[in-house]
Symmetry: C2
Subunit: 151 residues, 2 copies
């Protein structure tokens, strides 16, 4: 057993980026930290605005570059469920998503302890790597609003 402190988040990021052939740059680390800060599935532009607060010279193109590098390094998931802008999610624990039909919001759904791996008949030749369950319907806010309209 190692006696030193657990590796800092930073170390992990560096390692993952390097494993995928990316250099570690202040921008990439900063974009990642920005995502961790508020896990609300921000768009690239949201990330840009937030990242700019403490790194004013960062550019939109760099944000896209960083997000791509993080996605390819398996540090961030790309979330895209409607015609709107792509969203990004730094939660790499196995989890699922709920998408609201009305407001378009995306919400993480943790995997319950009793959850069994679904059995799907995936045709020959496909090489599945991972899966997620996508649930759609109304989020709490929109559901509450829908009830009001019917009152």
């Amino acid at each position: 057993m190692r006696t030193s402190a657990p590796p800092a988040l930073e170390d992990d990021v560096v390692r993952r980026l390097e494993e995928s052939g990316f250099r570690t740059t202040p921008q990439r680390a900063h974009v990642y930290r920005t995502l961790l800060e508020k896990r609300d599935h921000p768009t690239a532009e949201d990330v840009f605005i937030r990242a700019k607060r403490t790194m004013p010279d960062i550019s939109m193109a760099t944000v896209y570059n960083c997000l791509d590098a993080l996605v390819q390094s398996n540090l961030v998931r790309l979330v895209s469920h409607d015609r709107g802008a792509t969203r990004y999610c730094p939660n790499m624990k196995r989890h699922h998503h709920f998408y609201c039909d009305r407001c378009g919001g995306a919400f993480d759904i943790d995997e319950g302890p009793s959850m069994s791996r679904p059995r799907l008949d995936i045709p020959d030749g496909f090489q599945p790597d991972r899966y997620e369950i996508v649930v759609r319907g109304l989020c709490p806010d929109c559901a509450a609003r829908a009830v009001k309209l019917h009152a």
Copy 2:
């Protein structure tokens, strides 16, 4: 029991559109028929090009309008899994999707007979309506190509 022939596809389309408050127009029916013709998850532009072959005056804006009306009428599903253009799928039978990490292709996965509904802990307040399982990995073509590269 009705003695006449089962309702034509058209009748069903008309009913669904009307139930959702849409008028039935030749363009909407045509876009729907175009989608049914080749179930390969085309983009709006693909649909536009195909639809134009037999309805040369149809416009891109109308294709978007029609696709929206069909989606809202539950005749078509919108499929969006990367930063590329949104794709459309007229298969409303319960089914799932496989997305290829390499080529970005989307494939329908039928639900096997032994499939049990997955149990998710959806927090209070959410009003789930439907779900789908999304599997990612390599499609047969890309998997075969990956093997070759390692040979």
